[in-house]
C-alpha cells in the first residue's frame, strides 16, 4: 500500500485513525497514565501537530502509532488497515506498519554511511519493490540539499546535515505516514527555521501525511494543518492553528498557545449572540455566546495581549466599547512591538502595541491610560 495509490483513491482516506487509545505504564507497582481516551484522525496529506508540555503523552501517542509501545485499550488504523486493536487482540509490529520516522536524536546508524542509512528502508523491502536504489537515494538527498555526502559516516556531518539525512531516510520509502518526535529540538534557532521552511516545501511537493510532536508553539503553528493540544494524556483541543489560537476552549489551551490575559469571572447574562461576564473591575460584553454558556457559570474572561487597545484618558469616545482607567506600570520595547503592563483596579493587563513602535509615541510608565475591551476581542473560557 503506497502513498500514490492512496492519493488516487476517490474518497479522502484517513492516513491514521485512532480511537479510544489508552496506555498506562506500570513500573515498580506504580502506574503512570501515558495517554487516555485519545481519538485522532490524520487525513491523507495532512500534518497533525501534537503540542503540549513535557510529560503530557505526545511521545507515547506517537510511539503507539509506530508500534513501539503496545497500548492497553483502543484501536489504530493506518491507511485503512487495522494495525492495533485491543478488542481483537491484534498488534502489528512496527516493521509491518509502513511508516517513516524522524527521531529527536536522529537515530542515524553510526556504523553505516549516509547512503546505507538512507537506502535502509528500501533494502528492507522485497527485491522487486526496491526500484533503482541508487537513483532514489540520490533524488531524495538532492531534494534535501545533502547530495554528495553518500560515503560519509553520520559522525562526519554537522547537526543540520544529520537532520536532513534523517529526514531523507524517513521520506525515501514513500511511507503512509511520517512520524516526527521533536526532530528539530537539537539544532540552533536559525537552522531550525530553515528546516521548518524546507519541511513545508517538501510537504507541498510530496503530500506526505504525518504526525509531528513538539512543545514549541511557534513551530506547531507554522507546520500544523491541524493542531492537537495535549494535556495529561488527553487531547484538549483539536483544530487548525487559527481556530485553536482564536477560539481556545479552555484556559489551558489559551495559555499554551500564545500569551493571554485572563481574570476570574462569572456569567451574568447570556443572550442568543452576546453574553455578559462580570469581573472584579467591571462587567463586559462578549460576542459569540455558545450553547454551553449559562448564567451563573464561573470561568475566566480572557483577551490576547495584541487585542488590547489603549487610548489616552479622557479622549473623545468614538468607540462605544467599555473602557477601564488604568496606570501604566512598565513599558518594554521589544523591536517589533511594545509590551505594556497596565494596572487596573484589582487586576493587571498586558498589551502589545505594534503601531506604537512606528507611529505614535508609546505610553510612559506611571502615566494614566484607558484600556479598551472590544466585545469581539474578549473570550469566555469556562473553568
Amino acid at each position: 500500500m503506497t502513498n500514490s495509490s492512496n492519493a488516487a483513491g476517490a474518497p479522502k482516506r484517513t492516513a491514521v485513525q485512532i480511537r479510544g487509545l489508552r496506555k498506562v505504564y506500570r513500573t515498580r507497582g506504580r502506574s503512570v497514565v501515558g495517554v487516555d481516551h485519545v481519538d485522532l484522525d490524520v487525513g491523507a496529506g495532512e500534518l497533525v501537530v501534537l503540542l503540549g508540555p513535557s510529560g503530557c503523552g505526545k511521545t507515547t501517542l506517537l510511539r503507539s502509532v509506530a508500534g513501539l509501545e503496545t497500548p492497553d485499550l483502543g484501536e489504530i488504523s493506518i491507511d485503512g488497515k487495522l494495525v492495533f486493536s485491543s478488542s481483537q487482540k491484534k498488534a502489528l509490529p512496527p516493521e509491518d506498519r509502513h511508516l517513516g520516522m524522524m527521531f529527536q536524536s536522529y537515530a542515524l546508524w553510526p556504523h553505516m554511511t549516509v547512503f546505507q542509512n538512507v537506502s535502509y528502508p528500501l533494502t528492507s523491502l522485497e527485491p522487486s519493490a526496491r526500484g533503482d536504489i541508487k537513483a532514489r537515494v540520490h533524488d531524495v538527498l538532492t531534494k534535501l540539499g545533502v547530495a554528495g555526502f553518500e560515503e560519509r559516516f553520520p559522525s562526519e556531518l554537522s547537526g543540520g546535515q544529520q537532520q536532513r539525512v534523517a529526514l531523507a531516510r524517513a521520506l525515501i520509502g514513500k511511507p503512509s505516514v511520517i512520524l516526527f518526535d521533536e526532530p528539530l529540538s537539537n539544532v540552533d534557532a536559525k537552522v531550525r527555521r530553515r528546516l521548518r521552511q524546507q519541511l513545508r516545501d517538501l510537504k507541498q511537493e510530496t503530500k506526505f501525511s504525518g504526525i509531528y510532536v513538539t512543545h514549541d508553539q511557534e513551530e506547531a503553528m507554522e507546520l500544523a494543518d491541524t493542531l492537537a493540544v495535549m494535556d495529561a494524556g488527553n487531547i484538549r483541543q483539536l483544530g487548525t492553528g487559527r481556530e485553536v489560537y482564536e477560539r481556545p476552549n479552555s484556559l489551558y489551551v489559551a495559555g499554551f498557545v500564545g500569551e493571554v490575559n485572563f481574570w476570574p469571572a462569572e456569567l451574568v447574562g447570556v443572550g442568543p449572540h452576546v453574553a455578559h461576564a462580570r469581573t472584579d473591575f467591571g462587567t463586559f460584553e462578549i460576542i459569540g455566546a455558545t450553547a454551553s454558556m449559562q448564567v451563573g457559570q464561573k470561568g475566566h474572561l480572557a483577551i490576547r495581549p495584541e487585542r488590547v487597545n489603549i487610548g489616552a484618558p479622557g479622549a473623545p469616545v468614538a468607540d462605544p466599547a467599555p473602557r477601564v482607567r488604568g496606570k501604566v506600570r512598565e513599558v518594554v520595547f521589544l523591536g517589533a512591538r511594545c509590551e505594556v503592563r497596565i494596572e487596573l483596579p484589582g487586576a493587571e493587563v498586558m498589551a502589545w502595541l505594534f503601531e506604537a513602535v512606528s507611529h505614535r509615541s508609546p505610553p510612559v510608565a506611571g502615566g494614566a491610560v484607558d484600556v479598551i475591551f472590544e466585545p469581539g476581542s474578549l473570550q469566555w473560557l469556562p473553568a
Binding site: 485491543s86 509491518d96 536524536s105 559522525s155
Partner: protein, 578 residues
C-alpha cells in the same frame, strides 16, 4: 519495547517463533551448564541417595590436613583482602581522581596484569625469586650483605608465606582496581571539591570522602577478592607446595588426583561448604551495601577537576609503574630468559641461548596436542560464550523488565563460585553415568562455557547498554524484521564491546589452570594440564617456554581483537539518545 503482557495483546509474530525457540534453547543450554552441576553437587553433598546422610561430612571434616588447609586459606584470603582492596582503590583514586594520571595510557596501566594469565605471572616469579636460581635472589642477598645483614637465602624465597601473599596481591589488585575505577568514574566530583574547599588535606579527602562514597564498590571488590583467594589454584599449586603451605583449592585437587580411587564425595562436600560461605558473605555485603546506600553517585557526564598531588605526583606515578613492573614486566622477562636457556639458572650465558626449548616441546606429541587443542578450545569456547552472551543480552534488552533482570542475575552466578569447585561440579554432573564425558574435550568446553559466561555477559551487557534504543527502533520502523535488525544494527554496534570481551576471555581460557587441573588428563590435555606436568617433572625451561608462549599469544590476541573491534564511528554517536 514494553511488556505486551500488560494489555494482554500479543504482537503478531508467528515468523519469529523459530528464532524465539532458538533463543530459549540457548538460554536453557547455558542455564543447564551452570545450574545442573551446582544442583548435582548440592544433592550429592546434602542428600546423598536422596536422604539426609552426614557420614560423608563426618569423614570429610575429620581429615587432620583439612584443618591446616582451611586455616591457611583463611589467612591468605584475609591478608590478601586487607592489602589488595586498599591498594586497588588507592590506585584507582590516583588514576581517576588525581593528576597522577598522564594520558589515556595511565588508565590502562593497572589493568595490564589482567592480560597476563596468573599462571604465567606465577612461573615468572618463580624464576625471579627462587632462593637458589632466582634472578633476583643473588642481587638481593648481595644488597643485604652490603648493608651488613647476613640472612638465610631461603628467607627471601618466593615459596613462602610472603611470596604467596605477594602473588595473591599482585593478582587481586587489578580486579579491585577495575571495580573501584568504574565507581570513581561515576562519582559526583563536587563531593571531593566540597571537601577540599572546607580545608581537608589530600589524604584526608581520599579517606573521608572518596572511599566512603564508593563503599559499594569497596564491598563488592572485597567480596571478589575473597572469592578468588578461596578458589585460586595456580599460585598455591606452583609456590605453596614447595613451601608446604596447603590451601583448600590444592587440597581439593589432591582429593581428586593424588589418591586412588578419587575422593569425589569429599571434594563435593568441600565445594558446597565454600559455596555456602561465599553465599553468606554475599548476603552480608548486600546488607551493608543497601543499608548504607550509595546516594552519592551522581552520574553526570562531566569531567571532574583532578585533585592536584603537588610534590606527591611523581612518587605516585612511580608507584604505578613499579606495580606494572612487578606484575607484568619482570615476570615476562624472567620467562623469556629461562625459556632461551638450556636449563634454568640464575646467570645468563649468552652463547647458550637458543629456541631449543620451543622446538623441543613442539616435537613432543603430547605437548603439541595440548597446545593445539588448547588453542582450538580457547577460540571455540570464547567465541561461543561471547556470542551466546551477546545474543542473550540483546534479547534481554528487547524483552526488558523482570525477564531482563533475571537473565542478568542468573548469568552472573558462576562468578560467585570458585572455578575449582565448579569444575568438580561439572566432573560429577557430566563425567560419569549417564554422560561419561570424563576425559573428553566436551566436558572442558561445558565447564569453560559456564565459568566464563559472567565475564562475557558483563562485556556484552555494557556494549548493549551503550547502543541507544532509538537506533534499534529506527531499524524496525524502517521495515527491518528482528533478524535483519540484529544482523545489520545490533550486532555491528556491539561488536567492538564483544571483541574486547573476547580478547579478555581468550587470555583467561588459554592460561586456565583450575578447571584444567580437575577436568583435563592425558586423554584431553590442555595447556594448564601441561603446565602442571612440566612443573611436576621439574622441566623448568620448557615451562618457561610455555609461559612465554601464553604471555605472547595473550598479548597479541588482545591487541588484534582490540584493533579489529575498534569502532569506526565516534562513541558519542552510538549513544545517540541518552
Amino acid at each position: 519495547m514494553t511488556d505486551a503482557a500488560v494489555s494482554g495483546v500479543k504482537v503478531e509474530t508467528p515468523r519469529y517463533r523459530a528464532v524465539s525457540i532458538i533463543v530459549v534453547l540457548l538460554a536453557l543450554f547455558v542455564f543447564a551448564a551452570i545450574f545442573f552441576p551446582l544442583g548435582v553437587i548440592l544433592q550429592r553433598a546434602l542428600l546423598p541417595n536422596w536422604k539426609p546422610d552426614f557420614a560423608l561430612w563426618a569423614t570429610t571434616l575429620a581429615q587432620p590436613e583439612l584443618l591446616t588447609a582451611v586455616r591457611n586459606t583463611l589467612i591468605i584470603a584475609f591478608v590478601n583482602t586487607v592489602i589488595s582492596v586498599p591498594l586497588g582503590i588507592f590506585f584507582a583514586w590516583l588514576v581517576e581522581r588525581t593528576d597522577a594520571r598522564w594520558g589515556a595510557l595511565s588508565r590502562l596501566l593497572p589493568v595490564i596484569p589482567l592480560l597476563l594469565p596468573p599462571v604465567a605471572m606465577t612461573i615468572g616469579w618463580l624464576f625471579l625469586a627462587d632462593p637458589r636460581a632466582g634472578f633476583l635472589a643473588a642481587p638481593m642477598q648481595g644488597f643485604f650483605r652490603s648493608i651488613g645483614l647476613s640472612i638465610d637465602p631461603s628467607s627471601l624465597a618466593v615459596q613462602s608465606w610472603g611470596g604467596l601473599i605477594l602473588l595473591y596481591v599482585l593478582f587481586s589488585v587489578p580486579h579491585v582496581y577495575v571495580v573501584a575505577a568504574a565507581a570513581f568514574g561515576s562519582l559526583d566530583p563536587s563531593l571531593e571539591e566540597a571537601a577540599r574547599i572546607f580545608g581537608k588535606g589530600r589524604l584526608k579527602c581520599f579517606l573521608s570522602i572518596s572511599v566512603p562514597a564508593i563503599r559499594h564498590a569497596v564491598g563488592s571488590s572485597a567480596l571478589l577478592t575473597i572469592i578468588s583467594s578461596f578458589g585460586l589454584y595456580s599460585i598455591p599449586a606452583l609456590l605453596g607446595t614447595a613451601a608446604r603451605i596447603d590451601v583448600l583449592s590444592v587440597y581439593i585437587y589432591r582429593l581428586l588426583h593424588a589418591t586412588y580411587p578419587p575422593k569425589i564425595g569429599q571434594a563435593v562436600v568441600l565445594g558446597v561448604v565454600m559455596i555456602f560461605v561465599i553465599g553468606l558473605l554475599w548476603l552480608a555485603q548486600r546488607r551493608i551495601a543497601s543499608s548504607t546506600g550509595h546516594a552519592q553517585i551522581g552520574g553526570m557526564g562531566i569531567r571532574p577537576n583532578l585533585i592536584s598531588l603537588g610534590g606527591w605526583r611523581w612518587p605516585a606515578r612511580i608507584l604505578l609503574l613499579l606495580y606494572v613492573l612487578l606484575t607484568s614486566v619482570l615476570p615476562l622477562v624472567a620467562l623469556f630468559i629461562v625459556s632461551l636457556q638450556p636449563f634454568w639458572r640464575s646467570t645468563i650465558v649468552f652463547d647458550q641461548l637458543s629456541f631449543a626449548n620451543f622446538f623441543e616441546f613442539w616435537s613432543d606429541r603430547q605437548s603439541r596436542a595440548a597446545i593445539v587443542n588448547s588453542a582450538w578450545l580457547a577460540v571455540l569456547t570464547t567465541t561461543v560464550v561471547v556470542l551466546i552472551a551477546g545474543i542473550l543480552s540483546i534479547v534481554g534488552k528487547n524483552v526488558g523488565g523482570a525477564r531482563e533482570k533475571w537473565l542478568g542475575v542468573l548469568t552472573k552466578v558462576p562468578s560467585a563460585i570458585p572455578h575449582i569447585v565448579f569444575a568438580v561440579g561439572v566432573l560429577v554432573a557430566f563425567g560419569f553415568a549417564p554422560f561419561f564425558l570424563n576425559g573428553t574435550w566436551l566436558i572442558i568446553f561445558i565447564c569453560y562455557l559456564a565459568v566464563y559466561i559472567p565475564q562475557a555477559s558483563i562485556a556484552a551487557e555494557s556494549a548493549v547498554q551503550q547502543v541507544g534504543n532509538q537506533l534499534v527502533e529506527a531499524s524496525r520502523i524502517f521495515g527491518a524484521r528482528p533478524g535483519r535488525t540484529f544482523w545489520t544494527v545490533q550486532l555491528p554496534l556491539i561488536l567492538p564491546g564483544l571483541a574486547a570481551g573476547w580478547a579478555l576471555i581468550f587470555t583467561l581460557v588459554v592460561g586456565e589452570l583450575n578447571a584444567a587441573a580437575i577436568l583435563a588428563g592425558p586423554r584431553n590435555p590442555v595447556i594448564g594440564y601441561l603446565i602442571l606436568a612440566l612443573f611436576d617433572n621439574g622441566t623448568y625451561s620448557q615451562l618457561a617456554a610455555l609461559g612465554s608462549i601464553i604471555g605472547l599469544v595473550s598479548g597479541v590476541t588482545v591487541s588484534i581483537a582490540l584493533i579489529l573491534g575498534r569502532p569506526r564511528f565516534s562513541s558519542k554517536a552510538v549513544r545517540a539518545d541518552d
